[in-house]
């Protein structure tokens, strides 16, 4: 095991009965890195977290956290990592400060000892410190959970979908906080189903159905796998989607929020396609070239699997 890495995973496999949740997954997370695990629900993200936090043992392969083997040295790992499960896992009937005090006691530290680490986050929820945790808003719950996971100054922080179910503003604030923690040399593994959050990470791993699709920086992934992308919108979006899939030189067309994304090959002629769509009765369609994003790459890699 190489202690230079915060996390080192090699050929990790986990099965539940006949279902393979993780299939020979390998990657490394550098110290002080903010590493994102990007994938839809059921991709195997939570299973990977449970293996790395020593809550489960792998069927094959090895994993090391902070230079310690996840199976052999699981007790030592448990005192060095901070873990925030995907589900809200604090005590709803305890107040904000009672929760924090309990988790400090759990790790044998006093809140005051590491207050500097959590202060920027805790200050935001401090006005509500006597409120029961169950009565907090989603964003505040996440902040409290993060404080509780940080109170013992872990060397590696595991955050399983911390922004799921949180409003857009709180999500953005949350990522700002992670950037601050990274500056304090805490290695962070964070998972998210939101592709737009991938850009906030140093490096990301794309994962689907237990398979690792790609590992690189967000920019590196886009430049390695990106394609020519056009956005298409206007009128009856569903009919437009079906029509676009019949256009020449279009590899893929997927609905993408307000506009469809067309992945096209080199011979694609935008002007000819606009004419063809107009002939089919689609008036006022907008077809514009666009930058390929993580989500485009994800869909491409997913379909190639």
């Amino acid at each position: 095991m190489d202690a230079r890495y915060a996390i080192e995973i090699d050929g990790l496999t986990k099965r539940y009965g006949s279902m393979t949740a993780l299939d020979r997954v390998s990657f490394r997370v550098e110290r002080g890195e903010l590493f994102g695990l990007i994938g839809p629900d059921g991709a195997g993200k939570t299973t990977l977290f449970r293996l790395l936090t020593t809550l489960m043992n792998p069927d094959e392969g090895t994993a090391a956290v902070d230079g310690l083997d996840c199976v052999a040295s699981y007790r030592q790992i448990r005192s060095r990592v901070g873990y925030m499960p995907g589900r809200f896992s604090l005590y709803a009937d305890l107040s904000v400060e009672e929760n924090l005090a309990f988790f400090a006691a759990l790790f044998g530290v006093r809140v005051a000892d590491n207050y500097d680490l959590i202060a920027p986050i805790y200050r935001q929820i401090e006005p509500f410190r006597t409120r029961r945790a169950g009565k907090l808003s989603g964003g505040m719950k996440q902040k409290l959970a993060l404080c509780c996971a940080l109170i013992h100054r872990p060397s590696v922080l595991f955050l399983d979908e911390p922004t799921t179910g949180v409003d857009a503003v709180s999500r953005s604030e949350f990522w700002d906080m992670l950037a601050e923690l990274k500056a304090k040399e805490i290695s962070i593994l964070v998972s998210t189903p939101y592709m737009d959050e991938a850009d906030r990470c140093d490096r990301i791993a794309l994962i689907n159905e237990g398979h690792l699709l790609a590992v690189d920086s967000p920019r590196g992934i886009v430049s390695a796998y990106g394609e020519r992308i056009y956005t298409l919108s206007g009128g009856d979006m569903y009919a437009l989607l079906l029509a676009a899939r019949r256009l020449p030189h279009v590899r893929r067309c997927c609905p993408f929020g307000a506009a469809h994304h067309l992945s096209v090959d080199a011979d694609f002629d935008a002007a000819a396609c606009r004419r063809q769509l107009a002939d089919e009765g689609f008036a006022d369609v907008a077809l514009q070239p666009a930058e390929s994003g993580i989500e485009d790459v994800f869909i491409k890699l997913m379909n190639h699997e």
Binding site: L55, M84, P85, S89, Y91, L94, A101, F102, L106, F107
Partner: protein
């Protein structure tokens, strides 16, 4: 590592914040004691006795006088023999004592060839009829020692007061209910809410956290123990004739046993509802049916008797009866105490062995 005190504080807060549950827990003993003490009663409170006596001789009058002066009997007057059925049917009396025409002669015989008194009972309630008949018989036999070949004396509980019977039973049940059921549900709740996941990823051995959970429930049960003993002594007039120290000592052992049982259930169950069902079906049913609380163990079929040996409440109730009602010293219950102790050790060892500090 870790601060045991703050774990206990956290558990205490959980209990205190759940006001409704806490109230139920504190009131259960009061409700059960009141219910069994005053409403569900098989004891002899009052037997209305009418008497048929063809010749009211001096000895007949003496026997009737003894019945009338007994606090548990009410003398309803003399009636002619053809009135017996009507009086019983209309509920004017629940029993009729029919004295033989030659009562004096038969009662004086050293070995009577025929009965001197016939007791006719309204047995529509079998329990009161059986115990009432036995009690009335004991009053009448006292009249002339030679009147019956079998002399019956009910020791320790001559009025057959049901409180003597059910107080140990209720204690056996309540402590299992609170310690085993509530602790197991509270531990399993951590699994179900996902907080166990966070607790496991910490330097503290999960067993310590679980043990800290048991402390407040132990204290809660001690309050219940005090409530039950005070109610028994002052509201239901149970004599508590044995040493109170021995009763409390055996009860504390039983509390620990119940907590260990709760711990065991929590290691087996993944969901609160499962813990509840295990507690209710595997603990409450055998306690009520097999512990001797309602039905005497001696009257059960051999198979059920064999099963009752592994019901902890059976041994506890037996020990408490000996101490509380018979007034025996602590030395008389060493066998029960040893069995309870052994069961406690087994429960603790098995749950520590079975406790899983992983999720699978």
């Amino acid at each position: 590592m870790g601060n045991f005190g703050s774990f206990i504080k956290k558990e205490t807060l959980h209990i205190l914040r759940d006001r409704r549950t806490m109230l139920v827990v504190l009131l259960i003993p009061v409700v059960l004691m009141t219910l069994f003490g005053f409403a569900i009663s098989t004891e002899i409170n009052n037997i209305d006795v009418a008497v048929v006596a063809p010749h009211r001789t001096e000895s007949v009058r003496q026997a009737v006088e003894r019945m009338a002066s007994n606090p548990y009997c009410t003398f309803k007057g003399y009636i002619p023999s053809d009135e017996i059925d009507r009086v019983l049917r209309r509920g004017e009396a629940s029993a009729v004592a029919v004295f033989a025409a030659d009562y004096d002669r038969i009662a004086a015989m050293p070995a009577p060839a025929e009965p001197a008194v016939q007791l006719i009972f309204d047995a529509s309630n079998t329990n009161t009829a059986m115990s009432g008949a036995a009690y009335l018989q004991s009053i009448l036999t006292g009249a002339s020692a030679q009147a019956s070949p079998v002399e019956m004396r009910l020791l320790y509980n001559p009025q057959m007061r049901s409180a003597y019977n059910f107080v140990p039973g209720i204690m056996g049940m309540i402590f299992i209910l609170i310690c085993a059921l509530m602790t197991s549900v509270s531990i399993v709740r951590e699994k179900e809410n996902g907080t166990m996941e966070v607790l496991l990823v910490s330097p503290v051995r999960p067993m310590r956290i679980v043990l800290a959970k048991l402390v407040p429930y132990f204290m809660l049960s001690c309050i219940n123990l005090a409530t039950i003993l005070l109610l028994a002594a002052y509201a239901l007039d149970v004599p508590l004739s044995g040493s109170a120290g021995a009763i409390i000592a055996v009860s504390l052992l039983y509390l620990v046993l119940a907590l260990a049982l709760g711990l065991l259930i929590s290691t087996l169950a993944e969901k609160q509802i499962v813990a509840l069902i295990i507690s209710a079906m595997l603990l409450m049913m055998p306690i009520v049916m097999l512990s001797g609380m309602l039905f005497p163990v001696e009257n059960m079929p051999a198979v059920l008797q064999a099963i009752s040996y592994i019901v902890p409440a059976r041994w506890y109730i037996e020990a408490i009866r000996k101490l509380m009602i018979e007034g025996l010293p602590f030395a008389a219950v060493w066998r029960e105490v040893l069995i309870l102790l052994a069961m406690t050790v087994v429960f603790i060892v098995v749950s520590v062995k079975k406790f899983n500090d992983k999720l699978e």
